[in-house]
C-alpha cells in the first residue's frame, strides 16, 4: 500500500488571525469570543487602550487581529467550556491563571536548561 504524504500546516498561515478564523479554529461562537475580549481574556493586537476598546467593540470586532498564540488559547477555552461547563466570566479567570502558569513553566524550563546537566543529575540522585 502506498502511503500518502500530507503536509502538516502551521496553525494559521499568517502570524495574525482574524476573529472569523478564531471562530473556525475553536468552534466557539463569535459572541463568546467578543465577551472574552470584553473581559480582557483575549486581546486583539490593535486595541490601543481599554477605553477605545469599550467604545469600539461593536464597530471594530470584524477588523480585530489576534496573534497566532491566541489560536491555542481559544482551543483551550473551547475544551474548558465543554468539559467544565464554564461561562465567559469563569473562562476568562481560568484563562488568566492558565496563561500565568504557562509563563512560569516557560521561565522554569529556561532556567532548568541553563543548569549544567551534571549538577542536575547530582541533584536528582
Amino acid at each position: 500500500m502506498k502511503i500518502q504524504i500530507t503536509d502538516a500546516k502551521w496553525l494559521c498561515e499568517h502570524p495574525e488571525v482574524s476573529l472569523e478564523e478564531l471562530v473556525e479554529l475553536s468552534g466557539l461562537s463569535t459572541e463568546l469570543l467578543r465577551e472574552l475580549v470584553d473581559y480582557g481574556a483575549l486581546a486583539p493586537i490593535d486595541l490601543q487602550s481599554a477605553e477605545t476598546a469599550a467604545s469600539q467593540t461593536e464597530v471594530r470586532s470584524t477588523q480585530w487581529r489576534f496573534t497566532a498564540d491566541c489560536v491555542v488559547a481559544v482551543q483551550t477555552v473551547s475544551r474548558l467550556r465543554e468539559d467544565f461547563d464554564l461561562d465567559a466570566n469563569a473562562l476568562s479567570v481560568a484563562m488568566m491563571l492558565i496563561e500565568r502558569i504557562h509563563g512560569l513553566e516557560a521561565q522554569l524550563q529556561e532556567l532548568q536548561s541553563q543548569l549544567p546537566q551534571l549538577k542536575r543529575q547530582a541533584q536528582t540522585r
Partner: protein, 311 residues
C-alpha cells in the same frame, strides 16, 4: 466489543441521580483535566471519565447503556439483538467498534437525521520528535484508529495510516494542523482537522527553549583560566569556539544562529554553558602541579565572605 463500566469509572452507584453523576464527574475532571492537572497519567484518565460522563449525563444514552446489561469491564460482548439505533438488519459488525462510538450519536441525534451540514470531528495526536528532526524537518508515519460514521447512525473504528510532513522550525509544545484529516463531515459539512502536538524527545546534548538550544561545555581549570579554542558539536556539525581567558563556571557563551531554524527566516542561538571540571583521578604529577599553584597563588575566591574566626 469490550465492555466498560461507566458507573465504576465515575465512582457512582448504578442508581445514582443525575446530580450525583454530575458532581462525581466535576470532581474527577478537576483532578485529571489535562489543562488543569499536572498528573502525567491525567490525560488518559480524563478521557475515560469524560467518555463515561458523556453517556451517563444524557438520559436517553444512559438508558441505552443500561440496556446493554452489566458485564465485567474488558469483557467481550454484543449488544442484545433488539438494541441499537439504525444499525439496521443486524449485518452490522460490532467487532471493530469502540463502546464510546455507540453513544456518540446521542444528543446530536435529532440533527443527524436531518440535512444540516455537520463538521467532522477534530482529532489530536501526540507527536514526539527528536531535536535533529525539528532542525531539518521530517516525515512522521501516523497509525491511528479513528471512528467513522456510516451516515445511518452506525459508527466503526477504521485505521488511518498516512505520513505527515513536519516543516522545519517547529518548537517543543507547538501544535500543527492537518486540515481535512479529522473526522468526515456529514451532510456536506467540512471534514475536521487533525492536530499534532509536537514534543521533543530528551536529547543527550541539547536542551531546547523555543528556538534556542543549551549545551553543557565542560572545561578543564587551565582551559578556563588561560583561554582555549575548543570544538563544540552543533546540529550542522562541529564548530570551533574561542573560550576567552578567565572564563567562569556557569557563564553562557553564545554561538549565534546555531540553534533551531525559525518559521520563515532566521535561527535561534546555541548557548554553551561553561562548567569547570577537575580530573576525576589526578596523577601524582597533576597533584604536584596543583599543589605548586596553590602555594604560588594569592587568589581568594571567597573574598566576599565575611571573615570569621574559623571555628
Amino acid at each position: 466489543m469490550k465492555y466498560k463500566d461507566y458507573y465504576e469509572t465515575l465512582g457512582v452507584k448504578r442508581d445514582a441521580s443525575a446530580d450525583d453523576i454530575k458532581k462525581a464527574y466535576r470532581k474527577l475532571a478537576r483532578k485529571y483535566h489535562p489543562d488543569v492537572s499536572k498528573d502525567p497519567a491525567g490525560e488518559e484518565k480524563f478521557k475515560d471519565v469524560s467518555e463515561a460522563y458523556k453517556t451517563l449525563k444524557d438520559p436517553e444514552a444512559r438508558a441505552a447503556y443500561d440496556n446493554l446489561g452489566k458485564h465485567r469491564p474488558g469483557e467481550d460482548f454484543r449488544p442484545p439483538p433488539d438494541w441499537g439505533q439504525g444499525s439496521g438488519d443486524g449485518s452490522f459488525s460490532y467487532e471493530d467498534v469502540d463502546l464510546s462510538d455507540l453513544f456518540a450519536a446521542f444528543g446530536g441525534r435529532g440533527r443527524r437525521g436531518g440535512s444540516i451540514p455537520i463538521p467532522g470531528q477534530d482529532f489530536e495526536v501526540n507527536a514526539p520528535i527528536t531535536i535533529e528532526e525539528a532542525w531539518r524537518g521530517t516525515e512522521l508515519e501516523l497509525n491511528l484508529s479513528v471512528p467513522e460514521h456510516d451516515g445511518a447512525g452506525g459508527v466503526r473504528r477504521v485505521p488511518l495510516v498516512f505520513k505527515a510532513r513536519i516543516p522545519k522550525g517547529v518548537t517543543d509544545g507547538e501544535k500543527l494542523r492537518l486540515p481535512g484529516k479529522g473526522g468526515k463531515g456529514l451532510n456536506g459539512g467540512p471534514n475536521g482537522s487533525l492536530y499534532l502536538n509536537i514534543s521533543f524527545k530528551p536529547h543527550a546534548l541539547y536542551r531546547a527553549v523555543g528556538h534556542d538550544l543549551y549545551l553543557d561545555l565542560p572545561l578543564s581549570p587551565w582551559e578556563a583560566a588561560l583561554g582555549a579554542s575548543v570544538e563544540v558539536p552543533t546540529l550542522a556539525g562541529p564548530v570551533r569556539l574561542k573560550v576567552p581567558a578567565g572564563t567562569n563556571s556557569g557563564q553562557k557563551l553564545r554561538l549565534a544562529k546555531r540553534g533551531l531554524p525559525k518559521r520563515g527566516e532566521g535561527e535561534g542561538n546555541l548557548f554553551a554553558i561553561v562548567q569547570i571540571v577537575v580530573p576525576p583521578a589526578p596523577t601524582d604529577r597533576e597533584k604536584a602541579l596543583f599543589k605548586d599553584l596553590a602555594d604560588a597563588s594569592k587568589f581568594d575566591p571567597r573574598a566576599a565572605f565575611p571573615k570569621g574566626d574559623g571555628k
